[in-house]
Amino acid sequence: MDGKVIVVTSGKGGVGKTTITASIGAALALQGKRVAVVDMDIGLRNLDVVMGLENRIVFNIVDIIQGRCKIKQAAIKDRRIENLYLIPASQSDDKNAIKPENMVWLCGKLRKEFDITLLDCPAGIEQGFRNSIVAADEAVVVCTPEVSAVRDADRIIGLLYAQSITPKLIVNRIVPRMVENGDMLSHEDVVEVLSIDLLGLIEMDEYVVVSTNTGTPLVMEPDSKAGKALQRIALRLDGHPDLPIENPMIQKTFWKKLSSKFSRKN
C-alpha cells in the first residue's frame, strides 16, 4: 500500500513549523513507521540543524530532482531513531529550482518507500508553498495564538481548500497563564475564527529551545510538555484520530487556587 504525504504549513514564519515537522516525524518513526521528512525551504534550510543531522548532508532534494543522485543517496538516516530519514533542502539554489510537476514525481516515489512523508513547507505563499502542497494528501496548519499568525493561517487554509485539501490545525506556544488572564487568544477563539478541525495544542515550552540547541529530537525529552503533545499529535495523524486533545493548564499553587475561588464568587 502507498504511504501518505502530509504537508506542514503556516503562512507566517517563525510559528514552529520546522520543530513540529521534526518532532512529528521522530514520534511517528518511534511508533514504528517508516518516515521521511523533507525540507522544502530551498535556499534557507533549517530542518537539518533542528534534527541534528547538518553534518551528514551529501546530496539534497534539488540533486534528486535534477537527476544527480538517487533518493536513497540523499536521504540521511537518523542514527538515534530507526526508520527516520531526512531529505535536506539545497542551500545554494532558490525556490524556482523545483517545479510542481517535479514534486508530483518525487512524492509518487516517496509514497512507495515510506509510510509517511512529511513536507516542511517554507513560510509565504509563493513557489515554495505551491511546490509543497501540489502533491500532498493531507495538510497540517500551524499557528500561534496571535493575530498575525491566525490571519495568515486563514489565508493558507483558503489556498489549501482551493487544492481540495481539508487541513487540520495545531495551535502552538500556548501560555495557559495568559489565556486564563484573558491576555492570549484561547484555542477555542482560534478555532472559532478559523472554523477548522483541531489536531493538537502545544504549550510554550523551554525544552524546545534546549533540544534545538543540541539537535536532539524533542520527543526524546521525557519531561517536555511540547514533546508529549507532539507524540499525541503523531498518533492522531496516524490511525488514532479520536485520541482526546489535552488542553494545556496552569499547574495551580495553593494561592492561585484560593484567588480563583474568590474571583468565582463575583
Binding site: 496571535e146 493575530v147 490571519r151 486564563e180 488572564n181 484573558g182 487568544l185 475564527v193 480563583s260 474571583s263
Partner: protein, 93 residues
C-alpha cells in the same frame, strides 16, 4: 480567573484577547472582500443582465463597489433607472 484579571475587569478594561479576536474577525472579513477588479466587472455584467429584465437602466452610469467601515462592509450598487420595462409575466429564462 486570576485576581489580576478580576482587577482589570473591575477597572472596566476589556481583556486584550477579546480585542485581538474582534480585530481578527474584522481583518479576515476585509481580507476576503479584497476581491479582484475582474470579479467585480463580472458581477456588474451579471447584475445588468438580471436588472435589465425588469428595468430599463442606464448601463453606462452604473457603479459597483465594496465599501468598508468600522462597523460593517457593504456591496454598493448604484444604477439609475430610466423606466420599468413593459415585459409582462415570467422573464425570459
Amino acid at each position: 480567573m486570576s485576581l489580576n484579571s478580576l482587577f482589570k475587569k473591575i477597572m472596566g478594561k476589556p481583556a486584550s484577547k477579546d480585542v485581538a479576536k474582534q480585530r481578527l474577525k474584522f481583518a479576515l472579513l476585509t481580507d476576503k472582500l479584497d476581491v479582484k477588479k475582474e470579479m467585480l466587472k463580472d458581477l456588474q455584467k451579471d447584475l445588468i443582465e438580471v436588472i435589465s429584465r425588469y428595468f430599463e437602466i442606464d448601463k453606462e452610469s452604473i457603479t459597483i463597489d465594496i465599501q468598508r467601515s468600522e462597523e460593517c462592509s457593504a456591496l454598493v450598487f448604484n444604477s439609475p433607472i430610466i423606466s420599468a420595462t413593459h415585459k409582462r409575466g415570467v422573464p425570459a429564462a
